[in-house]
Amino acid sequence: MTHFEIKAYPEMWKDLDMDVERFDKMRLMLGEIYEKTYLSQKNRPAGMAYFDNMVAEIHGGRIKELLAAKEEGRPVIGTFCVYIPEEIVLAAGGVCVGLCGGSQGSVPDAEKILPRNICPMVKSAFGFKAGRICPYFQVVDFVYGETTCDAKKKTWEILDDMVPTHVMEIPQMKNQTDQDMWLAEVKAFKTKVESISGKEVTLAEMRQATRTMNNKRKALQRLNRLRHTNPTPISGKDVLLIEQIAFYDEPVRFAKEVNELCDELEKRISDNVAIPGKNAARIMVAGVPMALPNWKLHNLVEGAGAVIVNEESCIGTRYYKDLMDEDAEDMETILQNLTSRYMQIDCSCFTPNNERIDQVLKEYKESGAQGIIHYSLQFCHTYNIEEIRIRQACEKEGIPYMFIESDYSPEDVGQLQTRVEAFLEQIGE
């Protein structure tokens, strides 16, 4: 196994007003975990080298690119949700990055201020800023939050003291009034982004940005289709990593690399190269996002000899399943198209959310999975309650199903391992 290290940029971190000493320790730890989780896998596709490097440069190379963009006066915006329309940021020449929020390491920083019994993703994200241990948080012009849950929307008020935080209102129903409100929010977002770049976004720029995002999403769709092959040519952990990197990489380059990896996977499929084994149980994960470096569930499932073949999640298909029309003739139409595209996202913050039940069943069939694990973060009320309807739908369809509610801490790994292994035994019988 090759030694893996996340590259250090102490000078740059110091300039970014980070807690360099502490951050350096976290860097070493993350490097070790990555080596153990990822590089120990056998027979990985060669195309994963690019993504390994994206992790090695997560706190360096990519940050330099963001700093360069800022220097050119391009907006750099941090987000936490797949509802924030990246197309608009790209059209303004800007960069949209999903911020850190998947690590136990920053949770204690948050718990000094926030209540303990809220979602670990919100705590982790807030802690990264409070502890000054995330370079992305230090680089962004501002954070664009949303109202997808109560923990988030109230945390933005506190976060705003540390970094300028704007909030987009996400509707909770899909009626016409909600769509109208959402269109108004999208327009307000555009105005805000334009105020940073200092110029109005043109139709040509919007169309180009739409193409870029469609291409990125198409590349991810292609990757997901290929991994559905039985036996699968790529591990679930590797696909999850790519889906996570999608939130901070440059979109054109990312799409190109994903497509090159897909070419390799097609070759693997025709050469019958499989990961991990031909008889591995195939599991689909549904539920909440898994922010980097949350690899807990994938690690457990694949460590037990199964393979994950689909993520019905904001980090997975919910981010890339929908494309939008690229060729609108005027700005109003393209914004309306964009609004409709984003309204198809079936987040559990909506009520009712029947589309999601159908989507889970559809993805289960498409992925050739043999069972579904519904994964929720602790205290995520909407996903935890919607789980009941997903479970009922699975029971009705005779789909083997298990529900896991967990956070980022390692303390429940023993129990989870038993539950995952028992689920695999159940599927195997």
Binding site: E405, S406, E411, D412, G414, Q415, L416, T418, R419, E421, A422, E425, Q426, E429
Partner: protein, 252 residues
């Protein structure tokens, strides 16, 4: 000879199976190197195949076991061998509580298990017994003797302990508090059963099935349901693992 080893959070159990019957079993409190202890416990049987289950199953496989199965499958197999009419299993061990449903062949069709919280487990009862200065073996009988219905509201082990202490300091007799503690565990088992669904014949395994008060409380809370505790409920997991060892070898 086929041996099953159950390396649980509190105790190590072994069961030996030969010619279609259980020929021996043993239980010890688990020490610091459970795999060494377990290895010693099985040597007398000179087993042909060993299957491990419980928290230490992977450790046992690293050192001596030929295979592993989860406690969930093991309790399903063990109960099916002892009480074939049972299609619902309640297993409360030191650290976990589970409800398992089986098909007619003893295969797991569904299960629920507590997560990291210790509430409703053997550990919870142990902590409460200590807090009320009962030896563990006396805790159930004492609670059974009380007829006072009071309630513990908190299910979290830490908060429940504070609640018990405050009851103690209000002068409530300890057997009544003991009964309240048992009641809260029984309620939790009933809730878990309700979540998974259950048949009219429920088998109760794991160390907590030795507690007469919990068993009686579960029985009285369920109408028209038979709740049966097998002989030696603590070794059911080990028995299931022994059966798996025999099955792997084509002997069952």
């Amino acid at each position: 000879m086929y041996v099953g080893v159950d390396l649980g959070s509190r105790t190590i159990k072994i069961a030996a199976w030969q010619d279609g019957r259980m020929v021996g079993h043993n239980l010890q409190e688990s020490g610091f190197e459970p795999h060494e202890q377990a290895r010693e416990m099985i040597t007398a049987y000179n087993p042909k195949q060993v299957v491990a289950t419980g928290y230490g199953r992977h450790l046992a496989r690293e050192h001596f076991a030929d295979g592993v199965i989860t406690e969930i499958k093991a309790h399903g197999m063990g109960i099916h061998a002892m009480l074939p009419q049972a299609t619902t299993v309640v297993d409360i061990g030191g650290q976990d509580s589970k409800v398992i449903t089986l098909n007619g062949n003893g295969q797991v069709t569904n299960f629920q298990m507590n997560d990291k919280c210790a509430a409703g487990t053997g550990r919870f009862l142990e902590i409460m017994a200590t807090s009320l200065a009962y030896p563990l073996g006396d805790f159930g009988p004492a609670a059974l003797a009380s007829e006072q219905e009071i309630q513990i509201n908190s299910m979290c082990t830490v908060f429940a302990e504070s609640e018990v202490i405050s009851m103690k300091n209000r002068g409530i007799p300890r057997q009544h508090i003991a009964r309240a503690v048992h009641s809260s565990v029984a309620d939790r088992i009933i809730a878990m059963l309700g979540r998974v669904g259950f048949a009219e014949f429920i088998a109760f395994s794991g160390g907590v099935a030795n507690n007469p008060c919990i068993v009686q409380m579960v029985r009285t809370r369920l109408e028209n349901v038979q709740v049966v505790v097998p002989e030696n409920p603590s070794i059911i997991g080990a028995l299931g693992a022994a059966l798996e060892a025999a099955r792997k070898d084509g002997q069952a």
